[in-house]
């Protein structure tokens, strides 16, 4: 005789209304209620929160130390295997785009600063470059060189931290300290140049705020003699470390077609073999005059992404070397008025940040405030790909794979 099925395995109806009194029905204490306290808002959410036999949900974050910020990830697991995951964003949402619409164009620079707080020289460039394009002004050549110098230094600082973070998420405590040694030297250098350690507020519409000073140049000259040595040492330590290699090689593999369809950019995209670097694809500033390569790899796994970061550090040092040799004399700030009324129009610009294509779409209605300033953050789109490549991996590897994507929650949550 057929037994009645137990209650818990009955399929739930996918869409329920808030008016339905049964939605708040008390569950037995032994059963974990996976359904959030509101009806599913989309097809995908209903599918995600419907659990088959043996599956369960587990929350990582929002205060988990290795989520690199306040990211909450709901994992659907079967034993140790991840079946699906649902990143929940918004814990750091500040409404930067709305704030920018309510201040003038100069305010937007410092408002955009904390978006990518590890390399904020890139995010603060967004309103600057859009306004310059709309105003159709040319930046003095020395200012362009100083910008490239600051960008590349910031890229090295960010990549140094990335390597440390990745190793830390795999359980290695030492490389993060080495990463911070390299990063701290650059951060001190930037503090001498801009007056701030992290949120620089250094770029201006029409140039940069202040010329290179003696303190910065002496620190930079000191550092250039041993540039990247700390990172090379970390590389020698990690590249042949068996634990590190076995926990990154072959894990989190993305193929080229998926990466393009997922709108990825930066090292995760180039690790799949697509040589898309905004510095070459859409040249800006003085990058067309500089010699550097776009390192790519074809494996598309965590290890390839890690190796790409190391290669990019080498290219950045090459760029800094050229910039220092070719730095022209002259003003660092164009002659522009204090109160800028940007002519009506629309502009789209993109630059290559350590995490990929940092883009901005600006609209002006002729007033001194941006009408719309849309910031496109690469981590936002790269994080989305984590949902595609995670199924089938172990829980212990989720954070390692996520760390190899190098997400920064400040930019993701805006």
């Amino acid at each position: 005789m057929a037994e009645a099925k137990p209650q818990a395995t009955e399929p739930r109806s996918s869409v329920r209304s808030l008016d339905d009194p049964d939605i708040f029905v008390e569950m037995p204490a032994t059963i974990f209620d996976a359904v959030p306290p509101y009806p599913p808002r989309s097809e995908r959410e209903a599918e995600f929160y419907h659990l088959e036999d043996g599956e369960m949900l587990i929350n990582l974050g929002p205060q988990h130390p290795s989520t690199h910020g306040v990211l909450r990830v709901v994992l659907k697991i079967d034993g140790e295997r991840v079946i699906d995951l649902d990143p929940v964003l918004g814990y750091l949402h500040r409404g930067v785009e709305k704030i920018c619409e309510n201040g003038d164009w100069h305010h937007a620079i410092s408002n955009c600063d904390p978006l990518e707080y590890v390399a904020s020289m890139f995010s603060e460039a967004m309103p600057v470059l859009v306004a310059e394009k709309l105003l159709d002004i040319q930046v003095p050549r020395r200012a362009e060189y100083i910008r490239v110098l600051a960008w590349e230094l910031n890229r090295i600082a960010s990549h140094a931290l990335f390597m440390g973070w990745l190793a830390l998420d795999l359980g290695g405590l030492t490389p993060i300290l080495w990463g911070f040694i390299e990063r701290d030297e650059i951060v001190e250098m930037m503090a001498a140049l801009t007056g701030q350690r992290l949120l620089f507020n250094y770029l201006r519409i029409g140039g940069v705020n202040g010329d290179l000073n003696h303190d910065f140049l002496s620190r930079l000259g000191d550092w250039m003699g041993r540039a990247g040595e700390q990172i090379e040492a970390t590389t020698r330590f990690l590249n042949e470390n068996e634990i590190f290699v076995r926990r990154t090689k072959g894990l989190g593999v993305l193929d080229r077609e998926t990466a393009i369809r997922t709108c990825m950019s930066g090292p995760p995209l180039r690790a799949t073999g697509v040589p898309y670097d905004v510095r070459r694809a859409h040249p800006y500033s003085v990058y067309p005059e500089l010699e550097f390569d776009i390192p790519t790899r074809t494996e598309g796994d965590s290890y390839a992404r890690y190796l790409l970061h190391v290669d990019e550090v080498r290219e950045s040092i090459r760029i800094i070397d050229q910039v220092l040799h070719e730095m022209p004399d002259g003003p660092v700030m164009g002659r522009i008025p204090r109160l800028i009324r940007v002519p009506p129009g629309r502009a789209f610009i993109a630059i290559e940040s350590p995490r990929g294509q940092y883009a901005c779409y600006g609209m002006s209605d002729g007033s001194d405030q941006p009408f719309r300033l849309r910031i496109h953050d690469p981590s936002f789109f790269n994080l989305q790909a984590v949902g595609l490549l995670m199924p089938g991996h172990l829980i212990a590897d989720t954070m390692a794979i996520m760390a190899s994507m190098d997400p920064i929650m400040g930019g993701i949550d805006k």
Partner: protein, 163 residues
């Protein structure tokens, strides 16, 4: 030098977005394979959805604007069948503007809490109104210093002069 190449622009009606984007991506003359950005815009009169595409064969971006979405019921077909990465971009545009992307399987709020009712990046969005509608019944400092009636008088929708 300044970055160039975003002057090419296509304006389409929302019902043609799907086929225009499919042609741009898959036709061998265009091959716009990379979706650089997708975002919503509220011009004050109507809603836009702005796409930026890039093809390996040209250094220029192509801007596609789906224009003429009514502010009370903005609807546009989703492009997630071409780029699944557009899913979160469209979720963000829905969250901030209330634009419905038909065909997006995961169209829910991405930044704001699930019980939130406003669309913050709309031009008629006011913080005091927002506080009054929120689950906390509006006991916020902002609202007490500015009475709602005064706020309503000041709530002039900023209209776009861009065309």
């Amino acid at each position: 030098m300044r970055q160039r190449g975003d002057t090419t622009e296509i304006r389409v009606a929302p019902q043609h977005v799907a086929e225009v984007m499919r042609t741009l991506r898959e036709d061998e003359h265009f091959r716009f394979e990379i979706l650089a950005d997708v975002c919503g815009v509220d011009t004050g009169d109507e809603m836009w959805v702005v796409y930026h595409l890039w093809s390996v064969e040209s250094p220029n971006w192509l801007r596609v604007i789906a224009e003429g979405l009514p502010r009370d019921d903005p609807r546009v077909p989703s492009v997630t069948f071409l780029w699944n990465g557009a899913e979160w971009g469209e979720r963000e545009a829905y969250d901030m503007f209330g634009i419905i992307f038909e065909g997006n399987r995961d169209l829910r709020r991405i930044y704001m809490p699930p019980d939130y009712t406003s669309f913050p990046l709309r031009k008629d969005f006011l913080l005091a109104d927002d506080a009054a509608r929120s689950p906390g019944e509006g006991f916020r400092h902002v609202e007490q210093t500015h009475p709602p009636a005064e706020n309503l008088r000041r709530s002039v929708v900023r209209r776009s002069k861009v065309s």
